[in-house]
Amino acid sequence: MFKDDHGELLLEVRGITKQFAGVQALKGVDLEVAPGEVHCVMGQNGAGKSTLIKTLSGVHQPDSGSIRWEGEEISISSPTAALDLGIATMYQELDVVDGLSVAENIFLGHERSTGGLLHVKKSNAAARALLERLGHGKLSPTTGVGSLSAANKQIVSMARALSRDTKLIIMDEPSAILDSGEVSNLFRVVRELTAQGIAVVYISHRLEEIRQIGDRISVIKDGRSTASSLGVTETPTSDLIRLMTGRDVANVFPDRNPVAADAPVVLEVEDVELSGQFEKVSFTVRAGEILGFAGLVGSKRSEILETIYGARKASSGRVSVNGTVLRPGSVTSAVNAGMGLSPEERKSQGLILDEPMFKNVTLSTFERFARAGYLDERAEREAAREQISALEVRPADPDRPARTLSGGNQQKILLARWLVHGTPVLLLDEPTRGVDVGARAEIYTLIRDLAAAGTAIIVVSSEIEEVLGLADTVIVIDDGRVLTQTRANDIDEHGVLDLVMKGSAA
């Protein structure tokens, strides 16, 4: 698949920089893309991948550096200019309009029309042709996009890119919203595209995927290229991780402290089931134990967690904390019994972004700082400040709005919330999503310390490595089914993937 002929590059980016209000987002990034290749761009969150994409798609203009397109020096002044050149971008948040049909979405902005009158039949036919080119001839152009799955919406988005004379498609973590079956379908489509000479810039931090689909890899760290155009097959994983993180993987995770054999069982989950989502799960977590859920996207990890927490109502089964049986479907009952959840989507499910840090920290405890309903904001701020300094949230200003914090600090605010609460059970859903590497290590240490202090913790993560590195016990799930439960030391990433593959085949 790898194209050797570097003779004619499609895109050549040299040393671009970009500064936003005092923050140097890009400090010198190089990227070269040949026609028909899949060029992967890797980097931790906050490395500057998004800024790079936005620069290439005309949203931002670089402060310095050069961009050559088909050999000519250009600058991309606007998203429209990028589209005119033949650069289409598929953002993570799919930009399709749910209320319109597939064909209407494909030709959105460049409708087939004469004098304002739409050519419905013609555009439906053209849409069908495009969908067939993508191997999705079954998708009807007249279907409403709102009823499509995320995977099919992505296809529509790609068809839209093709409907303009596109030579380069930038895909920003396209697999993030797909389950494993859909990912292989995505890869098939990507191969269709490259076979037609279209180049793809594929942004991801999932090594397994990059190994499958990529031709070459460029790595960015802290806004700077640390490697350009490495061959996918010949570069070892350890090198890539070092290039991305600047450190060796081994020391990212803190040492485990063994769970005492006589540690009491704090959380007991018996035959909890949510029909249509996941089958019966049972497990216990002891004080000081970290239980990890490993599985791919779509394995229903988060659903299980949310059901245990009462955010979804279980169809059957029983959850108890320190012997107290929780009322199914009641978050309040879970919180009162001593359970805390740090949700997957920090911004939409966890934080009140415009409120100051301290009010976010005390969101589940503010009633404790009140006498007969009268809030003692000073005591509240003080309690928050204590946790803010203990967790080293930066800046340590309790009055700063949560919106202004980085991902890692926002995560710490959520941890602080439950530390103030003093919950014996902590559920962490994707605790390091959107958190950059330095902060990740800090958060791992925090989680470990919490366990050492006797908290029973469940960690759910799409990064298998994270689950294995952090947890004492691991439950491997796939498609809502528990495949195995084992000590983390007894299984590795390969083992987990093997199980998942076998599980899906069965």
Partner: protein, 353 residues
């Protein structure tokens, strides 16, 4: 690719769009804080006063006229306080005008008045409050547990409550005959009408409730992020019900005040009041999307509109012109609010760990 395109693009590169982060000067913090927003309203109010003083002189600037402005503001003001809570939580209550009308009708029914004569005038007050709170309870249950959008649920109540009021009253005016009630409602304390006192008390209680209590904190939290509040263990649905009850209750208080001022209950009381109320709340700076509410702003918003009306009336200006001016004020206020909201999202860049 063409020469021209490149040039245009380059000229853009040289002018980076650089917002925010330029500093957190105390002045700027102050102006962007709630005090700053209220300050803008105070300035608007002062301007209106200057306008009144210049155009009408002593006819405008005298104690009696000031009290007239406040009396006019009092009923809208009381209802606006309740609605501020609902809007702060991200909802809307369109039904307050109708509910107010219904409460005047029920409280002035012959049977209620008879019972009040035999017991106490307070019975009429309690009936009006119960009607308001009851309507609010229905709104709240439908919104919170029926998962109906607040706009629709309270629109239904707007239509329904008015209809019920017409049915009960037979579209006739029910005169209040209870002397004690009228005496209290038309009375004065320290030379100031009891209606104004009610407004002052409700506003003060509202401010305290929103800013100093767990109830207020829950309200702001739910408006700021409903899902996060739910996952933090807040009983969101129950709280939503309380909010609509509170809003209905203030409509009931408004009904009592209407009965006192007009000495009669009719189904047309409070017609279109909801529009004045929402306008005042929004002008005051409470965000319609929820998460930020200001009682002080609402009070100032109400005062701005009632002063405006007073100035126009003093100058014998057309009421149509008055309506036009109110529309303008509303639009300008919302535009300013949007600018503020847009700026709020990019005050400062994230700080790296």
């Amino acid at each position: 690719m063409s020469e021209q395109k490149t040039k245009v693009a380059e000229s853009r590169v040289s002018g980076p769009a650089d917002h925010g982060a330029s500093g957190n000067s105390p002045m700027r913090n102050f102006l962007e804080g709630s005090a700053g927003r209220s300050l803008g309203l105070v300035i608007a109010l002062v301007l209106l006063f200057v306008m009144g003083a210049v155009t009408s002189g002593d006819r405008f600037l005298n104690l009696e006229n000031m009290l007239t402005i406040l009396r006019y503001a009092s009923i809208i003001g009381v209802v606006s306080i309740g609605v501020t809570f609902v809007i702060t939580a991200g909802g809307i209550d369109l039904s307050v005008g109708s509910v107010l009308g219904l409460s005047t009708v029920v409280a002035s029914m012959t049977s209620v008045q008879l019972a009040a004569t035999q017991s106490s005038w307070i019975l009429m007050v309690l009936v009006a409050l119960a009607v308001g709170a009851g309507a609010g309870l229905i709104n709240g249950l439908i919104v919170a547990y029926g998962n109906v959008v607040s706009f629709i649920a309270t629109l239904a109540m707007l239509v329904g409550a008015r209809g019920l009021a017409e049915l009960i009253s037979g579209r006739s005016t029910q005169i209040v005959s209870n002397r004690d009630f009228l005496q209290v409602m038309r009375g004065e304390v320290l030379g100031v009408s009891i209606l104004i006192w009610i407004f002052v008390i409700v506003a003060a209680a509202g401010w305290f409730l929103l800013n100093r209590t767990t109830f207020g904190r829950r309200t702001i939290a739910i408006g700021g992020n409903l899902e996060a509040s739910r996952l933090a263990g807040i009983k969101v649905k129950r709280h939503l019900v309380y909010l609509y009850v509170l809003s209905g209750l203030t409509a009931g208080i408004g009904g009592v005040m209407f009965l006192g001022r007009t000495t009669a209950g009719t189904s047309t009381h409070g017609l279109l009041l909801e529009l004045d109320v929402i306008a005042a709340v929004v002008v005051g700076g409470t965000l319609l999307v929820g998460g930020r509410g200001t009682i002080m702003g609402t009070v100032l918003g109400v005062l701005i509109f009632s002063t405006l009306i007073n100035v126009f009336t003093q100058n014998n200006l057309d009421t149509s012109l008055q309506a036009l001016a109110r529309g303008l004020i509303l639009v300008v206020a919302v535009l300013l609010q949007q600018r503020f909201a847009a700026r709020g999202t990019r005050v400062t860049k994230p700080v790296k760990v």
